[in-house]
């Protein structure tokens, strides 16, 4: 087990290195005059040259890449080009904001969709089952920017139930912050309800059909006992792995949602850094990728804990 985790972590480091390389390459395909972009179109050339000199953006690419990797390895991302403060400050703040939103959304989504999935699976083939499936397909087919816009217009403006901007005033209590985050969290709920509910349903149906379930029922256990002891333990495994993968992908949905709700989280920060702030961009993408890898690793470990057979598979 420990060996498995260590191997996964070692592979993760290679992956992170490759991510830096990919992002760096895309960002440097075209020569970009970072100094000009930062100083603005009207700044004197002297000032532009000064900035480029200071940032070393005229150095050979290989040197720039070397500096970048070295910075990442020593956890020293330097200063943001566009904002006068360390990258770790910029990304750190944005990261915690996004995590609040993410955790809130997951706390709402997981129980709701797992219950819907179990509900549908136990009524496999009936109208309520089909309703859940259709709802699931529909909700995961609506892009998050579409649902955000509708939520904002209807619940935020028309009904006035929740705030339409996601960022609470500084120093607000956690409850106030949550009330501000409700609409964007709901937008995430809509996107991920479908995946998780359908996954749960499929897993539970398979588990209900399995031999061990039949044996348990024949042994005379009550339906609830069978469900709790056997079906859920096995049937929820696909759900766990999908939640792990989704946590990574949620980070992508954040871009559109944070844009619409004007929430300066990781998505918006990366979006704004895309053309003019390489250190923030690279750091942001790395943070997202790390979260993704940790989430999949965690879900694999949970799977292994739930199912000893999987433990063998993963350590293969």
């Amino acid at each position: 087990m420990t060996r498995y985790v260590l191997r996964r972590l070692a592979l993760s480091i290679i992956t992170l290195f490759l991510i830096i390389l990919i992002v760096f390459l895309i960002n440097n395909v075209f020569p970009s005059d970072i100094g000009r972009r930062l100083a603005g179109p009207f700044a004197p050339q002297v000032q532009v040259d000064e900035i480029n000199e200071k940032l070393g953006t005229n150095d050979p690419l290989i040197n720039q890449f070397g500096r970048l990797v070295k910075g990442v390895a020593t956890f020293d991302y330097g200063d943001s080009y566009a904002q006068n403060r360390p990258v770790s400050d910029v990304i750190g703040q944005a990261f915690w904001r996004s995590m609040k939103l993410l955790v809130y959304a997951l706390v709402l989504t997981i129980p709701l969709s797992v219950m819907a999935g179990i509900f549908a699976a136990r009524r496999h083939g009936t109208v309520p089952d089909r309703a859940v499936v259709t709802l699931g397909v529909a909700s995961s087919s609506i892009p998050e920017f579409v649902s955000s816009v509708i939520l904002q217009a209807v619940i935020g403006v028309k009904l006035g139930w929740f705030h339409v901007v996601a960022k609470a005033p500084d120093g607000a209590s956690i409850l106030t912050q949550l009330s501000y985050l409700t609409l964007p969290a709901l937008a995430l709920v809509i996107v991920y309800f479908g995946y998780i509910a359908r996954m749960t349903r499929a897993g539970v149906i398979a588990a209900l059909d399995a031999d061990y379930t039949r044996t348990a029922t024949m042994k005379g256990l009550s339906t609830t006992q069978v469900l709790r002891r056997h079906v859920l333990r096995n049937g929820l495994q696909p759900t766990v792995s999908v939640v792990g993968v989704q946590i990574g992908y949620v980070m992508g949905s954040l871009v559109a949602i944070e844009k619409i709700f004007n929430y300066p989280g990781l998505g918006l920060t990366i979006f704004n850094a895309a053309s003019k702030d390489p250190p923030v961009l690279v750091a942001g993408v790395l943070v997202v990728a790390t979260v993704y890898m940790l989430a999949t690793l965690a879900s694999d470990l949970v799977l292994a804990w739930m199912n000893p057979r999987a433990r063998l598979e993963v350590s293969r």
């Binding site: 992956t15 892009p143 998050e144 499929a202 993968v245 990574g248 979006f271 961009l281 997202v288 890898m293």
Partner: protein, 299 residues
């Protein structure tokens, strides 16, 4: 976006057995018969067909030209403009109909390209293994670890948003997912007797991969293709929404929503909501088809 999981499970559920050719064509006919009996497939196909007609028919089927201005601006839906007019005095229905063309051109192409490349790499990874597999797998994993929207954002902001860039970007983003699926089924196939016997007959790896393995993994590949088309539509719309396009007049659904969603709270909901519903309807239609294809292959 894009969860990949439903198909990996479906794929691993594939019965990995070598079938003679006649049996395969019989199975294909049987699957087609099953497919036609599924209401989801029928409903999805009808919606898809509608959009295909819009895309092919162009201005011959839409009431006005998508770029034609001069109607009173921001008119609510009415008899003369079923979907109303937008803030610049254009007919929203005509624009939404014209928007089908771009999406139906780009998404299937992108999905197909990703499936072709992903399958090639997946075969190499799953059958040849070794150092090539390690390298490809690591790179694919790195691409996968960056959410597609972020990756697309990077690519779009560097290369712009022409049709070619869109197709290549989506193909690039989806290739690792296809790769992962194909690689895992190929791994399973490679263990089977028919592959071993082919190897003993002295067939080369190229022959074994293309003539022996591929026919036996068409199921997962077809499923992957249909599912990817749905995600391509979804992902493209989101990317266009976030990044914006250089050509604002283009009747592209994501573009239309991003230009007009700010008008909703002023009461002008129709220019944003109709293209949004168009995106949703097409993705749902393709997903219904994909779901049906998947379960027919699985049964």
């Amino acid at each position: 976006m894009s969860a990949t999981t439903p198909l990996t499970t479906a794929a691993s559920a594939m019965p990995p057995s070598a079938q003679p050719r006649t049996e395969r064509s019989m199975a294909r006919r049987e699957r087609w018969r099953l497919l036609r009996r599924r209401p989801g497939f029928i409903a999805g196909s009808v919606v898809l067909l509608f959009w295909v007609v819009c895309a092919v028919g162009g201005e011959r089927v839409s009431p006005h030209g998508p770029l034609q201005t001069g109607f009173p601006s921001s008119q609510a839906p009415s008899g003369s403009h079923l979907f109303g007019t937008d803030q610049l005095g254009r007919d929203v229905l005509s624009r939404v109909m014209a928007g089908a063309r771009d999406v139906l051109l780009v998404s299937p192409f992108a999905a197909l390209l990703s499936v072709i490349i992903g399958t090639l790499l997946g075969l190499i990874g799953g059958y040849i293994r070794g150092i090539a597999d390690e390298v490809v797998s690591r790179v694919m994993e790195a691409v996968l670890a960056i959410p597609v929207i972020l990756m697309g954002l990077l690519v779009f902001s560097t290369f712009g948003t022409s049709k070619t860039v869109k197709i290549l970007t989506i193909a690039f983003l989806f290739t690792p997912i296809v790769f992962r699926t194909v690689r895992s089924v190929t791994l399973a196939e490679a263990e089977l007797d028919y592959v071993t016997s082919a190897r003993l007959r002295g067939e080369g790896p190229l022959y074994i991969m293309t003539r022996e393995i591929v026919p036996n993994i068409t199921g997962p590949i077809v499923v992957e293709l249909t599912v990817r088309v749905g995600y391509a539509i979804f992902t493209l719309a989101t990317l266009v929404f976030v990044v914006g396009g250089g050509r604002p007049e283009e009747p592209e659904w994501g573009n239309m929503v991003s230009q007009t969603y700010g008008l909703i709270q002023g009461g002008t909901w129709w220019p944003a909501i109709f293209p949004a519903l168009a995106i949703a309807s097409l993705v749902i239609a393709v997903n219904l088809i994909a779901d049906s294809v998947e379960s027919v292959y699985a049964s």
